[in-house]
Amino acid sequence: MTVRVQTEDFDVGFEVNQLRNARRDTGAIVSFVGQVRDLNDGDTVTQLTLEHYPGMTEKALEAIAQQAKTRWDFFDALIIHRIGSLKPTDQIVLVAVSGAHRGEAFKACEFIMDFLKTEAPFWKKEVTQDGEHWLEAKQSDDDARERWVK
């Protein structure tokens, strides 16, 4: 399990290949890439700032990956999350999961994303034509997380 919190961009192809080539019995790699949208609730976004809680962030992400591991049978998981100042179409987050079979890898990847969205200490501030504001947490993200605990 690898967790990286960084200002730099990441290379999806490189990271997926690393996971893929780590074991010769890997059959499936599921990955998620999140990017900054140019539109949010109808406003044109010109910039996005990502703040986080150094020290807690890495621990929270590792705990989420470990929790996924107790629930599904996969080989390895990689989580990269960017912080700092981003623009529309910039990549924000990569979650990639390798395993023998696809079903468990799909579930683990989606589980990690749903918990990252609701438990990892990141906060987004958007700059739009109307000035800057902190994003509100979404009910849909809480709902997505709830699906896994019922």
Binding site: G34, L50, E51, H52, Y53, G55, M56, K59, A60, H81, I92, V93, M113, L116, K117, T118, E119, A120, P121, F122, W123, K124, K125, W134, L135, E136, A137, K138
Partner: protein, 89 residues
């Protein structure tokens, strides 16, 4: 007792505090300190503090890098953090 407090995102910006070291007398209050009691204690500082910590904004707490609920006990030396619901990913 001595604790360290961190504030993030909207809280940090509005309170104009990112971190502080708080020293409290070792009385009954300190011995029974929880996240909620600490919020109430800090909220007395001013209307803005009241508004940010006990107002409409849902404030989540962490102790030593773990998300906790309002009833979690705080002990000497803890690192406490307050922040709005997270919005990463």
């Amino acid at each position: 007792m001595k604790i360290k407090i961190f504030y993030f995102a909207r809280l940090k910006e509005t309170l104009k505090f990112s971190t502080e070291d708080l020293e409290l007398p070792d009385d009954a209050f300190a011995q029974a300190l929880t996240i909620l009691k600490l919020k109430a204690f800090l909220a007395k500082r001013s209307d803005v503090w009241q508004q940010m910590l006990l107002g409409k904004l849902k404030v989540r707490g962490a102790i030593n890098h773990e998300l906790v609920d309002d009833n979690a006990p705080i002990v000497d030396g803890d690192e406490v953090a307050f922040f709005p619901p997270v919005t990463g990913g």
